[in-house]
Symmetry: C2
Subunit: 274 residues, 2 copies
């Protein structure tokens, strides 16, 4: 019930929640906020961002379709258009991410808070599902996130599993790791599995060696977390995979979000639950 006692329709409720997310993006766009996004606009889908020249776009999209666990594509823009019409109509991908990374020939050259200086008419943007959606669902189900409890970034590892290549895009799958007790594992699998376009269920439970992880204490990305004696490492396909692979293709220009600084969309996590 609104203050005046009128009933609000579902559509009105959704509109009101959408305007909250527009406020968040507007604060980011103006430069008022340039921090990590994990705690913003709870309930809204956040995504990884990869921006590439049109010449690379089809091969990259084909790579993602061939490797949907690490690379679940939620949206692709028209070349030159910074607006994602499905996930956030009216948003501007040139400015609405708090922090970007700019790569030239695969080399990091800048970490700006907007990309207008780099924008070109042939750029295509890809929004890729992110683990925040299933992490929130795990927390809601009463499970812990060890990296959050320990105040660290989630540890990520390069595996021995090669992705199915596409044109210049090739390389191993990268995974994120969260440790759980044996009795927690079925719930962690079931809950994350409900979100197939946000990396879905884990790809591997236990034994890091047989996944090709080099050293569980030295993740290639993020930070190590402590695994208790009675915990098992559980590995999920990770959105760093498409970024690492795109970097390896050494395109003349690639723009991504900066780790943890995601794109906040209009869509709700629950819309993506299977």
């Amino acid at each position: 019930m609104s203050p005046k006692g009128e009933k609000r329709t579902v559509e009105q409720n959704l509109r009101s929640r959408r305007s909250e997310v527009e406020d968040v993006r507007s604060r980011i766009r103006s430069g008022e906020y340039d921090g990590p996004t994990a705690d913003l606009a709870r309930g809204h889908v956040q995504t990884n961002l990869v921006i590439l020249p049109e010449d690379y776009a089809f091969d990259f999209l084909k790579f993602c379709v061939r490797n949907p666990k690490p690379c679940p594509v939620l949206e692709v823009t028209d070349a030159g258009s910074p607006e994602p019409p499905v996930m956030a109509p009216g948003a501007d991908l040139r400015t609405d991410v708090p922090k970007y990374r700019v790569y030239e020939e695969g080399r990091l050259v800048d970490e700006p808070t907007d990309t207008e200086a780099y924008w070109r008419d042939d750029l295509v943007s890809f929004l890729i599902g992110c683990s925040f959606t299933f992490e929130r669902a795990l927390l809601d189900a009463g499970l812990r996130l060890a990296h959050v409890d320990q105040g660290r970034n989630v540890p990520m590892y390069v595996t021995g599993r090669e992705c199915v290549p596409s044109g210049p895009f090739a390389g191993p799958m990268v995974v994120s790791m969260r440790p759980y007790l044996p009795e927690e594992i079925p719930l962690a699998v079931a809950i994350s599995g409900r979100f197939p376009t946000m990396h879905g269920a884990p790809v591997h439970v236990g034994d890091p060696d047989s996944l090709g992880v080099k050293d569980i204490d030295y993740p290639e990305f993020g930070e190590p977390v402590e695994i208790a004696e009675n915990q098992v490492p559980v590995f999920w396909a990770c959105g760093v995979t498409p970024q690492a692979v795109a970097m390896g293709a050494r395109p003349p220009l690639m723009i991504t979000h900066s780790p943890g600084h995601m794109f906040v969309t209009d869509r709700f996590d629950t819309e993506y639950a299977a």
Copy 2:
């Protein structure tokens, strides 16, 4: 246990089931079988097929990503390659579908059993999820399929819901309809919803008018089925959508499967359950 009493590994079991599906494709390839595929290789994913010139491939793939309910893309080939490396390594999409349709400028010109006469080095093939997967799951859950009981093709309707366009690809969503009793609807929704890459949960339950269906008795594709007094029409996004939209773009050449004559893949339905 095998006849000799040895234990077979999961991998050996999978290999043995895969060789069954290779036999099916081999009989289709040789021309020995050119009928509908619904009852073949039970448990294996079957897909819709759309083949387009490379010039149209990125816009079409972008269309599919923007409209994942009617157009869940499971695989995209390299230009000129007839092999789908993820869904059926070693298969040949030029010959392994029992019956094809060939369109020139959006007009049906041929319905051959192989496409070698039309093949070009710039053709890209798209495998798109098909309702057979969730229909089998509905049957396994004890639900009926009215069109099967009545010996008809599933009725399909053009709706008033416009897809999100991409380049020359634009048009309304097409839906398939299966009638259920009110008490069956929650199960039908839950079961089909487990297969988000095979059209997933319905898009609409009841009232055809508000979906923009013109006349429930006259489906635009397939055949009408009788809806009992106490049944409700339930509508699922349909894989005819991308075909209809691609036809509307009038590309110089487009090849698809013929209705009901799908591509049988190596992959298992259960691999795609969320």
